[in-house]
Symmetry: C2
Subunit: 525 residues, 2 copies
């Protein structure tokens, strides 16, 4: 049917238009000592859009962003698409050559760079092979504020809700990074799901621990704005600074990987918070001991799961109120599950190699596949990779996550591993997460990571990397026995290396680096 | 851009599919002594859909519903569209001839009727001139359960999110009722806005004081289900029963007109609730005294505004947290405003006769016009009425509400009157709401309604109908002086009639009846 009074296009830009009007004088962004109201934010974004137009940016052009979680990042999430351009937020932890590849592939017309990353910006542009215009924001070389001052406020109406909103490059641990394409419609719906399911409102205070360059911050730049909540910038992820901001600003929400939470709860400034703090976490299941400690600190946890390809968390461990009365172990077990499709996603599936649903028995593993308006449009300029990512090849509707999980009888998903992280030893599958959870249950273990190394007899064997909790000590044999006493003996690591664990910018443990390390160690011995 | 992995159709039916899976064993509906889990509800709706198919219902056919707020009503909101048919929920307070007209206009194939309304159903079908199949639900003549028992579960996939979901006939105080057409997309988005802005979640307990036949219960059958909350049926709006359910079931949310709230707070069973109760109210602004009383009872109020044509509340008085620290008078003044466009609506406007926005000065009145995906598809089989409802005629995007309001400097709307309720006396506009608010501020006044009657000298003059608070007494002269002392003397009622006020099924005062009464009285004297 053709609507008489519409259709109105679904776009997250509508959220700033709304909050700019409704919550005009309220603080939208706290960035150090600076405070930006919602009407100021809306006006500055329109000026940024005008400034980009004055630099020759046209509809469909790409604009890259190289910035930590500061005002610049938030403004780019609205101002860039307002100009009709496509936002490409870059991971500030990558090298100039990696970033150069991305900006070259995106053929970005403009690069907005935070002044602390001016040198990296210049270096990456040398690598990109593009004629990208660099705009520095802040510091002695600032041009951004100048451009905004002289700009004519301007917003190009979104004509098509399926239009390209942003391109987020995957970290590319295998092969070249791929550009994940988000639509206005997908981001709009994912934002509404986050508002509803994380419970954002006008009294929310959201601390930016999760990088905005990671899946566009799970769509929270748009979601928090939709709710009329307050954004709090965080330039560097420092536990002391996080505690200071939580206490002084009454933070109500933040998103972070469990490793960030682990560093937070073990910090000397950790104290129970007066205002209930809700932490959304993903990337790895929160351990029972972490959950218990967070509980003491008056911090609630929502466990989420998703990928760059699904606008961040397409899956959420929806919590039954009835579960809150269970004991701590049961609660931790239920919360360790990644959960169910979020409010705007289609029901998720776990399938076997033939594409059939695995039985929901909590045991049989399969690949997690997802579907919904919050699945990417595809990989930018890479139709082959796009069709490889689909269960049914070109035109297929189910997206292959590459993650291995089981379906519990109640319909909740629990991840077991990345497809490529499953260790196959003597024909048996060992999921690294299972072994890590047992290692983590030892009091001396701060965190652990298990990878497979080639073995002439078994094919592969598991080895573990362990970071020891400060003030504790533990030996290799003791830990191996600890595992053997709890799960199948063949799953126990053959070797344990004690060290800090290498992590990505978003706090994920870099297993590919550990795998390389383990192979080198195995060759040496 | 064409999505690779989608598009997925937006439909509120997805919410039941999701909650049926995620919250399977949790209670979805409490109806008297019966409890229905989410998986049972989902299965019963699929059976209802199958039963309708077995009766010959095909995609696009209309199915009418005549029921109070019981399980039948909730099931029809999912089961009817699941069959591909269009839901037409009927107002149980209308006469057989009014209902007959509606069912005849809709040409409904099936009428689902609650057993208490079996006689009315038979009578209306005599009037309708249609060959509609009657199905009685419950009681000695029950056929509904039998049909469900023998049905093959069945759900027709929604192909087009703009497809017709439901037709809700306006009350038709002038002329014949008009059929307001809702789309799947509009109801989906309006439901998400309600979940987010009223704060529904899996622990919500929603009491059905608002009829589901009124704008499909503001989309709450779908919204509460989306959130995985618990519906509580209410067959008759009785304050004692409402208090009993609030106390025994821990109700967290209900929607009701201020007149219902007034009867609630003055009931002998009124006691402060243990669990904070959030009441969404619309139809008339809650008075300061009502707000104060609700506050004592631990009941919060959200003030909303909308029409059948806008899926219920397209406008919400979004509350700044900062306002909560103001004094009771200021809070009441701010909360009396209808507010701003909701999360999924376009920013609203107030326009003058030439279609220009009135100045946002809180004084200049104009007509409220609305726009968004939650504006109706149009009036069923009435393109002329549809184009009259548009500011710009056929194809125009702004919907004329027929309501008169002012825009405050902060962008918040305050209604002053229905266009047709404005009293023009000696060339001056008198908005009835303004006079009513002054009358209501008198301690002896329970509620009041002001209408215009023809006057040979002034054109029109205001007269008032007043219901006196039990245990109080007040005379006509005293009340008229009370008004004159507070607002312009020409706005004071010329006559005051003391009586109960006639109301619609949804608790709205029926001004057209008072207008007739006032004219009769004026002729007599």
């Amino acid at each position: 049917m053709k609507p008489t009074f519409g259709p109105e296009v679904l776009t997250p830009l509508a959220f700033l238009a709304r909050s700019g009007g409704v919550f005009g004088e309220r603080v939208a962004m706290v960035d150090g000592d600076s405070r930006l109201s919602y009407s100021e934010l809306a006006q500055r974004c329109e000026r940024l859009s005008g400034a980009l137009a004055s630099l020759g940016v046209e509809a469909g052009d790409r604009v890259s962003l190289l910035a930590p979680n500061t005002t610049l990042s938030l403004e780019a999430h609205f101002g860039v698409p307002m100009s009709g351009a496509v936002l490409n937020a870059l991971n500030i932890r990558l090298s100039a050559s990696e970033l150069g590849y991305i900006v070259g592939h995106a053929e970005s017309k403009v690069l907005l760079a935070h002044h602390r990353f001016a040198d990296l910006a210049r270096a990456l542009l040398k690598e990109s092979g593009t004629n990208t215009r660099l705009v520095i924001c802040g510091g002695p070389e600032d041009e951004y504020e100048q451009l905004l001052d002289s700009a004519v406020p301007h917003a190009v109406p979104v004509q098509d809700e399926w239009a390209l909103l942003s391109i987020n490059y995957t970290s590319g641990t295998t092969g070249r990074p791929k550009g994940v394409m988000y639509s206005h419609r997908g981001a709009y719906l994912q934002s509404l799901a986050m508002v509803a399911q994380v419970g954002l409102g006008p009294d929310s205070v959201f601390l930016w621990t999760l990088p905005m360059f990671h899946c566009n911050g799970w769509c929270f730049p748009w979601a928090v704005t939709a709710a009329g909540g307050r954004h709090v910038a965080l330039e560097v992820v420092d536990p002391g600074e996080i505690w200071r901001l939580i206490k002084t600003l009454g933070v109500s929400h933040l998103n972070a990987a469990p490793t960030v939470l682990t560093s937070l709860v073990s910090h000397p400034d950790a104290q129970p918070v007066h205002r209930k703090l809700l932490v959304a976490t993903g990337g790895a299941p929160p351990s029972p001991s972490l959950l218990a400690r967070l509980d003491e600190l008056n911090i609630d946890v929502i466990h989420l799961y998703g990928l760059t390809e699904t606008y961040g968390p397409a899956v959420i461990c929806d919590w039954w109120p009835e579960w809150s009365s269970l004991g701590p172990e049961d609660r931790a077990r239920l919360k360790a599950r990644q959960g169910v499709a979020n409010l705007v996603s289609n029901p998720l599936r776990v399938i076997d190699a033939e594409g059939r649903d695995v039985p929901p028995d909590g045991v049989t593993t399969g690949e997690v596949v997802l579907r919904g308006n919050n699945v990417m449009l595809g990989y930018y300029r890479d139709p082959e990779a796009t069709s490889r990512a689909s269960v049914d090849g070109p035109g297929g509707k189910w997206f292959r996550t590459g993650d291995v999980g089981v379906m519990h009888p109640d319909g909740y998903l629990e991840l077991k591993d990345r497809v490529k992280d499953v260790i196959i030893s003597g024909g048996e599958n060992i999921t690294s997460i299972e072994v890590e959870q047992v290692l983590d249950s030892h009091p001396a273990v701060l965190e652990s990571a298990v990878v497979g190394v080639p073995d002439s007899h078994w094919g592969e064997v598991p080895v573990a990397f362990v970071a020891v909790r400060p003030g504790f000590a533990v030996g290799e044999d003791e830990l191996i026995e600890h595992v053997k006493a709890r799960i199948a003996r063949f799953k126990a690591p053959k070797r344990i290396y004690f060290d800090e664990l290498p992590k990505t910018a978003t706090g994920k443990i870099q297993k590919f680096r550990l795998r390389t390390l383990a192979r080198e160690q195995a060759t040496e011995t």
